[in-house]
Symmetry: D2
Subunit: 338 residues, 4 copies
């Protein structure tokens, strides 16, 4: 952190700035030129409260130079991470993985049938919600443990590892008994109690970007999980809230190369929620692969017209089958498998 | 709900639309004019999945006519609600209440001293955080139960009822032992597990708007609490995230009259977080009172320059004392007390 | 401007940084501490291209310290400016002024009748559009010169100075013949050709904030006008575009105190466009006065239900008359007249 | 347009609704069911002022069923349009076209040299600005007619057609003498005077989306040009303003398939401005091709570190050359040439 003083700062003001820096438990290093004095912080920058310095008399600007995250940053490791979910590798040079399944688990038959179909269509992981965060208390809230049991059964039959959302820290032991990867939904991206809890789980965590979270905030939320000891975190772009109403959210594909530059973590894209309209999901899936996504998460439903949630945006298995060769061709075009 | 068909819709398509409406367990009422057919839903609209109708062949548009919330809506009661917090009335024609205190409880001395000062300056309720939601896992996270104890002690000494944030459903019994009103923070506005839990508490709940939640989503989250039986909910505008960077958030004061038109619940404004800069908090507090807010929530700190969180935006007690007569004059100007 | 180098920057890199700074025609001042080197720019900062320095090897951060605007900044004058429009003073300690009138001039009778009514209701200036920027080419585009003539006639009869929008630089001589103050609409806030042209006019200019312009961009657009020699500029907040759909735009009242802190120019608020719904315009007008606005601009229409544009948001003269005493009471509450 | 009345609407209210519909010069068609009455508009919907009906007593909702644009809509033509710029076809199944060049024309040597290099690297059109819209009046504003002359010379030498921005309707005759395609910049997307003027030009127009314009507003601005008789319009996505600050704007690639579904016009993507950071332009260009863009517009500069504008985001010709085979491979992967 560098504190730039105003040209008019007095010696007394500079002394107070230095004193406050030292009060945070770090060293202050003063350098003087003809027109102004600059105070550098030597020591762990997270001890220093930037905004309390910025308001002091004589201060022109305070410039943080350390990143606020350590474990997630690309500098923290020599290379991009690979997260392994029961034998499926995601990240770095691994093949782009398709994660498919319904929004909600609705019945045993539904999830077993769909799991087989998405496997045939090329999916390598199975997604499905047993706990559903719904805007309205009157909407379908999920099958809970029964849904988890059906998911586990579908995994056992197809071999597809299961990703499912957890909404409440109290459910962790139960969800861990059935799932292979935990999902933190967009609305819980800053539910810090939950983040800490899954940070102590042995399962990998797919962390969705809040729909109005900056990329730095997403990384800070990943840092919560990493700092509890769980190093298997996947970041997921799923659309941000903007003024545009033609789509449900605005899928921010620039998040892919930027997250991969800032962190070593794999990046997943969920075009289904980003666009919210079935007709445009294929094009955005192709674009996500071209942008460098390590995995693509797609809602697929047998009979989306009667789905209990989000039917309007789910693909049918046949569309997925037709899309697969094009996804693979785009992956190959940028030098990756799928 | 009204389904407008396309002029080109066939009789078969119309039959399918009617059949799907009926499959949701409600009646369909068909009306025909020369140029098109319109299908009305008769029965509880929440049973019908709008988006699944909108995608059907032959459908031009689907128009919901019922509000998605019942208990919160202004029609649900004859008049605006008053929420009583240990004898302090908020809402309807009650005097505008000031809710003041530090961002975080930092020590016993701090909160006792501040509680006395804000009381002297005109505050009628005390706020202070014992659990702090922080973007970084490395930032101060609050004194937890110790902080709650200090808050209760300050309440006992000053008589000011205490509002404090709860972040984790598992903490509810503990928080209920000390607090007079629960606060749900912006980041947890859609933590539905937590909403349901506080919906079963006997304490009133101050629900903050998520910084990218629409007003309808805020009301739906209130509906979660109300639908569990807790009727004492205060809605709080605290700034939304926009493209503007001159302020921390953009305080959306139009939320005040609109929430009061849509619901019967009292509306609180938190100018401190909305603006994020101490120098502009007084003007925005005056504007919030003029817009009709039922209470104003202000961060106040004895020595904001060394506060453990958010010091840059806290007022000192002296500023609050000077602001009070102007706040009261504005309240009087629109026919209210303060 | 201060260039902070990385701790690992080589001497060669520092020399290149210094060389590039000098290539912009300004001096570089190097200061060294133990852990890093800092390069300060001495000379007019606008000559230096910040982003071209930020990308250089060895650079950690580039920190601008000069404001990009000179003439508009609060430091440029000792005190807040007053803009005089035919004898009506706006700004500084002047009484808060009401600027009222229809969205569009629709006929001679309409504008004459309305001008009288808004004058009786307390307005001190008359607004009305003769050229209308409309999203659709098929909407009413204004009466053009005929509309200007009717406005001038209304001014002559009532004595209210006239503010009207100009959309095309080629119309300036014509508009100048009739109007007392030029309005630049939100959609033209960055129509730089037009800004330069009105910067050469003898008439004051009311500059509306673009609905997605930052406050700094608004000030930079004012700077275009000021830099051409026209010092009579009023800044107008009229709502910004956010994700919220309950209102037409989100009225950003924090713009008022911030613009008054950053610049010496008077600040006008247009609650009508900001909210877009007649029912909430009075509360937002009161809030705007409480926030410190120097003038309030309100759409008023005799028969808003049949207005040719924006009828849904216009007040009727009777509502304005009833609102006036409350506006005045709020102005008095903060120590101003109205 | 369909007007849905409230279940409680009286016969008198319904008569008044019908009367107001008829007053707009169209027919009203009433259909009655048991629970409510619905009034349909028969005739050109653009004559009816939706908001004035929505406010009437007894009205529940007004539902427009016609699109507000006619000429631009996909229904207006049997197939997607192809715009021809001096022999280069853009749109429909044509090969994806690269439009490359510097942000600003800086000198004759610069543009001639760059034109040759981008041609060698695969560009099929040349871009370059002679008039520059700059936030600050103190920034470089372009070489004006001299710049246009240099562009024309570069076209004559390389055969690459020239696209250049026009900012002022008064410059049209001059720009038409030199350019092959007119560009309307994002800041002028709702400069309706300028849109009408270029609507009367014989040159094709590339219309950039305003950075906070909805897709429907972009199409309405295209409609301004089309309605003046100029049918050769290209729509260009160039990033929208959101809360995210890691990128200059947020490139909204979902705009590509949506604009192609809503209109028959070709869609161009400008990843350079959307991302604003050179390092991420290649990935977003690949994603834009995968999403279905008909052309990609890229800023290229020989020596971006000393460019007079936007150097931080320009690619060097060598990067473009290396990117080309990957762009082509992605285009082929979705069945197109490049």
């Amino acid at each position: 952190m560098i504190i730039i003083t105003q040209p008019t700062a007095t010696e007394e003001q500079i002394e107070q700035i230095v004193a406050r820096v030292q009060a945070f438990g770090v060293e202050a290093e003063v350098s003087r030129s003809e027109s102004r004095v600059i105070v550098g912080v030597v020591g762990p920058e997270e001890l220093v409260r930037e905004k309390l310095l910025a308001n002091m008399p004589g201060v022109e600007a305070v410039v943080p130079v350390a990143k606020p995250y350590n474990l997630a940053s690309s500098e923290a490791r020599g290379a991009a991470s690979i997260v392994d979910i029961c034998g499926v590798s995601i990240g770095c040079d691994s093949a782009v993985a398709l994660i498919c399944g319904p929004c909600s688990v609705e019945s045993r038959e539904q999830i077993l049938s769909l799991a087989r179909k998405v496997k045939d269509a090329g999916a390598r992981l199975l997604r499905g919600g047993a706990f559903k965060p719904r805007t309205s208390p009157y909407s379908f809230q999920g099958l809970r443990e029964e849904g988890l049991r059906f998911l586990a059964e579908a995994r056992n039959e197809t071999g597809l590892p299961v990703i499912t959302e957890i909404m409440d820290a109290r459910d962790l032991p139960m969800v861990e008994r059935y799932a292979d990867c935990l999902q933190i939904g967009a609305r819980n991206m800053q539910n810090f109690s939950l983040l800490k809890e899954v940070g102590r789980s042995h399962l990998p965590v797919l962390l969705k970007r809040g729909f109005s979270a900056t990329l730095d905030e997403l990384i800070m939320s990943a840092e919560y999980i990493l700092s509890e000891g769980n190093m298997n975190v996947l970041l997921c772009e799923r659309g941000i809230r903007t003024f545009e109403t033609a789509t449900r959210y605005t899928l921010d594909l620039s998040a892919v190369p930027i997250l991969k530059a800032k962190t070593h973590l794999p990046v997943v894209v969920d075009p289904t929620h980003g666009v919210g309209l079935r007709a445009f999901v294929p094009q955005m899936s192709l674009a996500a692969v071209a942008a460098g996504a390590d995995a693509i998460m797609l809602e697929v439903h047998d009979t989306p017209d009667v789905a209990k949630s989000d039917g309007q945006q789910a693909l049918v298995p046949e569309t997925l089958s037709k899309l697969l060769p094009r996804l693979r061709a785009v992956a190959n075009a940028i030098g990756r498998d799928l």
